[in-house]
């Protein structure tokens, strides 16, 4: 990955890594997409306010000079997010993020302790588990209420705040505990595979449509974790592309599918099938390029891993078809939005170089 680049703000210079900067752009793009083409509910202003706050939080985390600040900012964001009006109790909403912060904190403390190498291994466990808990992936799945407003739901952690937090934690963890790098990577890959399996199967077989979307985010995060765990440039590139497709494709489609899901509308039009193909990572969408890079990275590391991942990749299709149908038939602004999301995904899938260059990869 490219060394940190200085990102100048008036009066103060905050270091933002190239990858974080790329993800910041993706988050902003995602927000722009859902604000410009908002779903019927919630209304645009709500999305704009909460989305803007989220962007500020992301920027703060990206600009945080040390992991201590990243963790503290995460705690602050978690508390503010938990305070938002949602259907779950505050305790339920804060539980997993607070646990994440505690685990990340413990991981950081262990990483800084002097002593036997086992401490570095404990640090790796704390950081990986903390990251998983912050994102809300298996085994630390956040409590999910299908009827809850998206801005207050765990989807925010997975699709909006999660990418930047993951990059911040993973990049710094490698510098903090180089001696436990292998264990760190192995745990990320393990959790990644677990989430690929769980996310895709659960997304396919669960009864509730909204839950299916929630699990599909987990499946994508499985790929991201594998990409980060592989620890070669191709793995990072794969993770970045999946994060882009989460921000620019999956999240907007999820928001646009909420209303049809409530009305139990299922359609089989070309747009639904294209959306399904995009969500499944079929060529020529961004997911395919990401998968190619991931396979390449995994092959460099250990080819049987690539085989396992390749088999796992086939699990995306059935749930994606289901999710694509749940989009209904977008009309008016949403149809334009869906078209833009599809076009963006194709553009990234066919020519991802600009994004990778932006991320210094």
């Amino acid at each position: 990955m490219q060394p940190e680049l200085a990102f100048a703000l008036p009066g103060v210079s905050l270091p933002i890594s190239a990858m974080s900067r790329a993800l910041l752009v993706a988050a902003a793009g995602s927000l722009a997409l859902v604000v410009a083409f908002p779903p019927p509910k919630p209304e645009r202003t709500v999305l704009l306010i909460w989305g803007g706050a989220g962007i500020a939080a992301i920027a703060a985390i990206a600009a945080a000079p040390s992991l201590d600040l990243v963790i503290l900012l995460t705690l602050g964001v978690a508390m503010l997010h938990a305070a938002l009006a949602g259907r779950r109790t505050l305790a339920a909403r804060l539980r997993a993020p607070a646990l994440a912060v505690a685990l990340l904190g413990l991981g950081l403390v262990f990483a800084r302790l002097e002593g036997p190498t086992i401490l570095a291994a404990f640090a790796a466990v704390g950081l990986v588990a903390g990251l998983a808990a912050a994102l809300g992936v298996l085994p630390y799945i956040h409590e999910f209420d299908p009827e809850e407003v998206t801005a207050a739901s765990p989807i925010v952690w997975m699709a909006f705040l999660g990418p930047i937090l993951a990059v911040a934690v993973v990049t710094r963890a490698r510098e903090l505990i180089p001696e436990a790098g292998a264990a760190f990577g192995a745990m990320l890959i393990g959790l990644g595979l677990l989430n690929i399996l769980w996310g895709s199967l659960a997304s396919w077989l669960t009864e509730k449509g909204t839950s299916a979307w929630h699990y599909s985010f987990m499946a994508d995060w499985g790929l991201v974790l594998c990409g980060f765990g592989v620890q070669v440039a191709d793995g990072q590139a794969a993770a970045l592309l999946v994060l882009y497709s989460i921000s620019l494709s999956r999240l907007p489609l999820y928001l646009w599918s909420r209303q049809p899901l409530r009305e139990r509308i299922q359609t089989d039009r070309p747009i639904n099938l294209l959306a399904a193909a995009m969500l499944a990572g079929s060529a020529p969408f961004a997911g395919f390029a990401a998968r190619v890079l991931l396979l390449r990275g995994a092959t460099q590391l250990y080819w049987p891993l690539a085989l396992v991942i390749a088999i796992g990749l086939l699990l995306w299709l059935p749930p994606s078809l289901r999710l694509g149908r749940s989009l209904g038939l977008p009309r008016g602004r949403q149809a334009i939005g869906a078209g833009i999301a599809l076009s963006l995904s194709v553009a990234i899938g066919v020519y991802p170089q600009p994004i990778l260059s932006l991320a210094g990869l």
Binding site: K41, P42, P65, S66, D68, L69, I71, L72, L73, L75, G76, A78, M79, L80, A82, A83, L84, A85, G86, R87, R88, T89, L90, A91, L94, R95, A98, L99, V101, A102, L103, G105, L106, L108, V109, R112, L113, E114, G115, P116, I118, L119, E147, E148, V149, T150, A152, S153, R258
Partner: protein, 182 residues
């Protein structure tokens, strides 16, 4: 100075234990105050006066807010608290083991306090059903994280202390909003 640090560390652990054992606002206030005091003292013993002050201020505001608003009760060790008691004790012992025998180098009290408070606050967050208790635990977490930033060869400066103090102070000011459907 070391003796002060040791007492401060145990105060922080005691505070965390109180938060684990208490459900009432007074108990939680005492707990957060002890944690803040403990970490502030540890920061001072390390020569970081402003940092310590920020933590103390944050903890104090949180405690005062707890004592100022809502029903005032201690709620210490309600029925069925044996597990919590064991938790607090075992947490302390494990933290002591990590800080004193597993890890090496100076600053054992801070290591003990950080590990103990982070662990116990995590446990409290997992147990908690009431917003106040969870938010207080989150405040405790913030203070522990702020204090722990001094561990290691490279100090993280004043920012973590300040941020931790702010989060701790703001923890109990947050509205525990009503439910709303999408």
């Amino acid at each position: 100075m070391t003796v002060v640090a040791v007492f401060a560390a145990f105060a922080a652990w005691a505070g965390a234990s109180v938060i684990v054992l208490a459900d009432g606002r007074r108990g939680l206030a005492i707990g957060i105050a002890l944690i803040a005091g403990g970490f502030a003292t540890l920061a001072w013993t390390a020569g970081d006066w402003f940092g310590g002050a920020a933590l103390l201020a944050g903890g104090a505001i949180c405690a005062v807010q707890l004592l100022r608003v809502g029903p005032q009760d201690w709620g210490l060790m309600p029925a069925g608290s044996t597990a919590r008691l064991i938790q607090a004790t075992v947490g302390g012992i494990l933290a002591l083991w990590v800080a004193a025998s597993v890890s090496t180098g100076h600053g054992a009290p801070l290591r003990f306090a950080s590990v103990a408070v982070l662990g116990l606050m995590a446990a409290r967050v997992l147990q908690g059903q009431k917003a106040t208790a969870v938010l207080t635990a989150a405040g405790g977490l913030a203070l522990a994280l702020g204090g722990a930033s001094a561990i290691g060869p490279i100090a993280s400066g004043f920012a973590p202390y300040l941020l931790a103090g702010v989060i701790a102070a703001g923890a109990t000011w947050l509205p525990s909003a009503e439910s709303r459907a999408a």
